[in-house]
Amino acid sequence: MILAAPQTWQMALGFGLFVGIWYLTSAVLKLPRFEKIPDPLGVLIEWLSWNPIYGLSIFTPDYYKHIGYSIYRAFTAFVLAVALGVPLGLFMGWSPLFRRFTFPLVELIRPIPPLAWVPFAILLLPGTEWAVIFVTFIAAFFAMVLNSLLGARSIDPVYFRAAQCLGFRPWDVFIHVVVPGALPFVFTGLQLAMGLSWFALVAGEMIAGRYGLGFMIFEGYSLAQYRNIIIGMGTLGLLGYASSAGVRMLGRRMMIWRERQLGGGAE
């Protein structure tokens, strides 16, 4: 029984303590600096209300508009980052010549924080929409490049030797050795990139968005609709969790050979 499992109760206790302390500090004790923090009960009522005071709840279309925009941006940026970053990284890892051309450049551009790209992105791209996506993309892109590169370099050289002996052409080597061999690292990159996408997205939306959860949080702050800040944060937490779970599921499907090796994929 899942309810009887100690993990379930321990988890519930953790949640309960967190919400309890939050409720105590913000609603009962009203500690200094905590008086402006919305209490959990008020937030929950607002979130689930048919007729929310500040106009955002699970029954208002605007709430879903914010969510929709954020998901669309994060997903577009993430897919672009994977589609461009993985081949680039794998190729850098595989070909020393290509690596010598590109690696120093990548290492120089990579440390630039995503937010520093905002003005550049607004100048370069038409409209703020693509600027936000670009900033999100940048964050995820370098995580993908670097992890794919490490993945390709982590492959035991004996597999390349075996491929040569078996008469593989370079393209066969790339498809059948480099790509699957680097997959465990690429998968780590996917998880990292997913998190970084949300991270950069919200920051980008606060600065340049007209919709989206980042915008929603910042507007909640500007207009003193503090409950909306917490609703936005909670929504981000749920979306982030769901997207990470999705990536993990994808990873398990991609690497059946590893699952079986480790003994049936038990957690």
Binding site: D156, V158, Y159, R161, A162, Q164, C165, L166, G167, F168, R169, D172, H176, V177, P180, G181, L183, M255, I256, W257, R258, R260, Q261
Partner: protein
């Protein structure tokens, strides 16, 4: 014993002509091999034994095309494979069975053993699969085609790897201490399995090992090498009849051959051991 018809003459005569190999890491002049010459006729099973560091793996790497010699040349069927400082890229005509195993863990057994001929376009996937199933069955591996290497035991992996090597029909098979990590029982099963496949295909085999008994049991000729720099200490022709099975190990002739080989190699092993002691002192 299974009797297969030997395939048509495929060449694979190997000629190693005064090959030398010098490594120079950071200015240290390490002579791995010196003036090494050896002729291996087509279809012969040749085992090379020697103490660790005698250059036997270096020699195999040069035959495979992973490294080039510093001097001398290596010729296979009138084609120069390698000369001083240059070499042909490795290819399917010289298949290596690696010491640590090199089946692709992310591919099924079937893909692993059929990829060579299929990717080269030499066989259709169906034909390659039929061949693979037949040869896997010969070595007692039926019904594992769709498993991944990580699911198999060490002994099964080695058999799959040898099957893969033979299915690409190389001219010469290069084995680099392939049974080193196996327990004694698995090892002797593997020996019979390898001999069966050898009797079936009669490829030229170049087998590197440090295990004397293994070398004598398997080979037509045993080449005992000196400690570094590697040179030929003694050649022993193994005139034991084929097909062989494990009972031959207790025969009188086997004992004689072994004594002969031990006498040749003992001094060298001792030298290598003492040199090693000095290196670490």
């Amino acid at each position: 014993m299974l009797q297969g018809s030997p395939r048509s003459e495929t060449g694979g005569a190997l000629s190693i002509r005064s090959v030398g190999k010098v490594y120079d890491p950071g200015g240290d002049h390490v002579v791995a091999l010196e003036q090494f010459s050896l002729e291996i006729p087509s279809g012969q099973f040749c085992a090379v034994v020697g103490p660790s560091g005698c250059g036997k793996t270096t020699l195999l790497n040069m035959l495979a095309g992973f490294e080039s010699p510093t001097s001398g040349e290596i010729v296979m069927d009138d084609e120069i494979l390698a000369g001083a400082g240059k070499r042909l890229a490795p290819g399917a005509d010289r298949m290596v069975v690696f010491q640590q195993g090199a089946l692709f863990p992310w591919k099924t057994v079937l893909w692993n053993v059929t990829c060579g001929p299929v990717l080269q376009g030499r066989l259709s996937p169906d034909r390659a699969e039929a061949d693979a199933r037949a040869m896997l069955a010969r070595v007692g591996l039926e019904g594992i085609e769709h498993q991944y290497p990580g699911e198999l035991s060490a002994g099964m992996l080695r058999r799959v790897e040898i099957v893969r090597a033979l299915l690409i029909e190389p001219k010469i098979l290069l084995l680099d201490e392939p049974f080193r990590a196996l327990d004694a029982l698995t090892k002797s099963v593997m020996h019979e399995c390898l001999l069966e496949l050898y009797d079936l295909t009669r490829k030229t085999v170049f087998f590197v090992t440090h295990d004397l008994e293994e070398a004598i049991f398997l080979a037509d000729r045993v080449v005992a090498m000196t400690a570094r720099p590697g040179r030929i200490k003694k050649m022993i022709k193994v005139d034991l009849p084929r097909p062989r099975d494990y009972r031959i190990v207790s025969s009188e002739r086997f004992g004689q051959l072994k004594r002969e080989a031990v006498d040749a190699i003992y001094d060298e092993a001792k030298k290598a051991f003492e040199a090693g002691e000095r290196e670490f002192a």
